[in-house]
């Protein structure tokens, strides 16, 4: 089985996120870039499937030069190879443009399964898996809390607003996983050393055969008009319970006209 896992470099989870005044884009330089933590579950799932049934795991990322570190980090969990799409023209891509690039990079490589995390912690849109499935004309089974593969038969528990649905489809397919699905492994020392030697294909927009006009800001179908930092919330009142903590909260709620 040949599995692709798409991952994203995002600003460190605890870092303060800001938009740049110059171009209204997320300021990625000011914070450490890390592997989007929800993607770790997708990598883990791929490794488990390949460990059970044999095959190959390829990590795919689109991002600036330094996203290469994130790609290696994901490979060091135990994957076999990487694809890094890096090009100055890619900056400012929205979800539509990003999905165009990923779909192009994934197509024609005969992946049986294309895995994603359920969202990125910076943009939080959760739409890339659906868009990639649409572009590649593949079945889409997202928000999986359980994935079973039997031959070419895929069975997934998809988390819904109300519980979960049991879904079935034939491979190849696009799947996104939620964090309930597994416990991602830490890269071992051996894995980290091995990752340095795993093949990583570096691709530009031209290599993919895409026009520069369909990616980056020019290929985006939406734009930020303006933005503003919301003034930080005034510090609240914190009191220590002296036997009347509950009454004090009730007083506060009354003062706020909530009760």
């Amino acid at each position: 089985m040949k599995i692709a896992v798409c991952v994203k470099q995002v600003p460190d989870t605890w870092a303060e996120k800001k938009l740049r005044d110059s171009d209204s884009r997320l300021d990625r330089e000011s914070a450490d870039g890390v592997l989007n933590e929800l993607d770790e579950y997708a990598v883990e799932q791929a490794l488990q499937l390949v460990e059970a049934a044999g095959g190959e795991v390829v990590i795919v990322t689109m991002g600036p030069e330094r996203a290469g570190e994130t790609l290696r980090k994901a490979i060091s969990m135990g994957a076999d190879a990487g694809i890094h799409i890096v090009d100055d023209n890619l900056g400012g891509s929205d979800a539509v443009a990003t999905s165009a690039v990923l779909a192009k990079a994934l197509s024609g490589r005969e992946f049986d399964l294309i895995l994603f995390g359920s969202e990125s912690t910076d943009a939080r849109m959760s739409v890339i898996p659906a868009m990639v499935a649409e572009r590649l004309d593949l079945p889409q089974v997202t928000f999986a809390q359980k994935v079973d593969i039997n031959g070419s038969e895929l069975t997934v528990e998809r988390v819904t607003e109300y519980g979960f649905d049991l879904l079935s489809a034939q491979l190849p397919a696009v799947v996104s996983v939620v964090e309930k699905i597994n416990e991602p492994r830490y890269p071992s020392f051996k894995g980290i050393m091995a990752a340095k030697k795993k093949p990583v294909e570096i691709l530009t927009v031209a290599d993919l055969g895409l026009e520069p006009s369909v990616v980056g800001a020019s290929g985006a179908w939406s734009e930020v008009a303006d933005f503003a930092a919301r003034p930080p919330k005034a510090a609240g009142v914190v009191v220590t319970d002296e036997g009347d903590g509950g009454v004090k909260i009730a007083d506060f709620l009354t003062s706020q006209k909530i009760i």
Binding site: T13, E16, K17, K18, L19, D94, A95, S99, T121, R124, S126, V127, P129, A130, D137, P139, Q140, V141, T142, V159, E161, Y162, G163, F164, D165, L166, L167, S168, A169, V178, E179, A220, W221, S222, E223, V224, A225, D226, F227, A228, A229, R230, K233, G236, V237, V238, V239, T240, D241, G243, D244, G245, G246, V247, I249, A250, F252, L253, Q256, I258
Partner: protein, 317 residues
Amino acid sequence: MTDVLVLAEHHDSDIKRITLELITGARALGNPVVLWLGTGCTDDTVATLGNYGATKVLVADSDAVNNHPVAPGAEIVASLIDSLSPVAVLVASTADGKEVAARAAIKSNCGIITDAVEIAADSTVTQSVFGGSTVVHSRVTKGTPIITVRPNAIPASPQPFAAVREDIAVSISAGAQRVTVKDRTVVAKGARPELTEAEVVVSGGRGVGGPEGFGVIETLADSLNAAVGASRAATDAGWYPHQFQVGQTGKTVSPQLYIANGISGAIQHRAGMQTSKVVVVVNKDPEAPIFELADYGVVGDLFAVVPQLAEEITKRK
């Protein structure tokens, strides 16, 4: 005036409040035309949707829609973008809603913006990002704007119209029917308000100590007619069902009042509740990061503070 297409969010005949919020928001842009996918659309439903200003309710109820997730809905939305030429398409920011919107966007060559909290008459969208620290105005620059809207952001207000029902037959491609629903598991939701719709959410975390500890949380919730939420520590431990998890990988809530009890305030938890209007915290550790978000906080044992609060609220009503 032109039409605005609104995709109804519903569970069988149960109309989610976000649907009424979407219709309310749509009125500023044009005539709200509701698309109802699947079962459950009754005369009452049509009347309720009309009461908020829906002019038409288009019903697409077929096996193709009911047995296959997302892709059929996207085909129907795309075909309506084509035939109705709406000024915008409004969808709920739920997992299904966003995915139907995303696939329709690609099919129809239309831009998409997710998680709107406000939509201006010219379809400019307001988003609240990075945990509410930044307000962004954005717009779609290609095709019909497809906008997904967060629950509890646009207050629903009635504006009665005699909506008419129209059943539509859209043929769904075989490709859109490749994923089949074999079974649906619905976790009983109980009598409390829906988590993402509730005006008040009362949450418990690891500090609650076990499943029985959620008793005091539920009692407080009921005194406020609130929904109950939980941190991942509590849902992972099996103390409370996963459906009630608030946070990055749970539900995003934006109530008038959020009461966090025995929750430390990890970044992943904050991601789901940071835009709550008023935050009250009960935690025995004065250093807990959740106090940074508190409008009012009490350092203390939740088992003393929470029952007293519930009693006090009941007394004052």
